[in-house]
Symmetry: C2
Subunit: 104 residues, 2 copies
């Protein structure tokens, strides 16, 4: 079982979160996860190459935007909605509808 | 007199704006310009190396975040508040207070 490193909530930084969101593919993944349901890389990536999906998920995880949970052979990705809200109130709630308009 | 290229309002893209804002120095510049007063690179850069300031201002300009106006030997930078509001309503209004907390 792989273990993933995640920043503590208080270590999530605004530039890092904005960078993680500064890509149409990653914005689309975050919009998809915003319903609160966790998804595998395969479910999130669609037809994108696996290595590219893995890269995007790593950027999102390291910035503190998503949480990755191992369960047996699978990894499930979820949005750190509460942690982001605690750190940057209102940010996701305002960026995601703008992103949803264009990248869902 | 130098002429600067700026994207049209409708060509400003969300990932580009988020990327432009994904750096503490650029966030600080944008927070400083958010009072609506235009400033030279020297005023914005403080003690940062001139070439670094020029790079950051170029990223902000190309993303459509700032407007650069030449006047004689000087260039004045201003925030494209209205254009950004037209394109992404509420975005700056929600990101800037979060940035101001940390990068002013």
């Amino acid at each position: 079982m792989r273990r993933y490193v995640h920043p503590e909530t208080e270590d999530i930084e605004l530039p890092g979160v904005l960078f993680a969101l500064s890509d149409a593919t990653r914005l689309g993944m975050v919009v998809e996860l915003s319903d609160g349901v966790e998804r595998t890389a395969g479910q999130l990536g669609g037809e994108i190459a696996k290595s590219t999906v893995a890269h995007h998920l790593k950027v999102l995880r390291e910035a503190g935007v998503i949480f990755v949970r191992s369960e047996g052979p699978r990894c499930y990705n979820s949005l750190r909605t509460e942690d982001l809200e605690a750190r940057f109130p209102g940010l996701l709630g305002h960026v995601l509808p703008l992103a949803e308009r264009e990248y869902r």
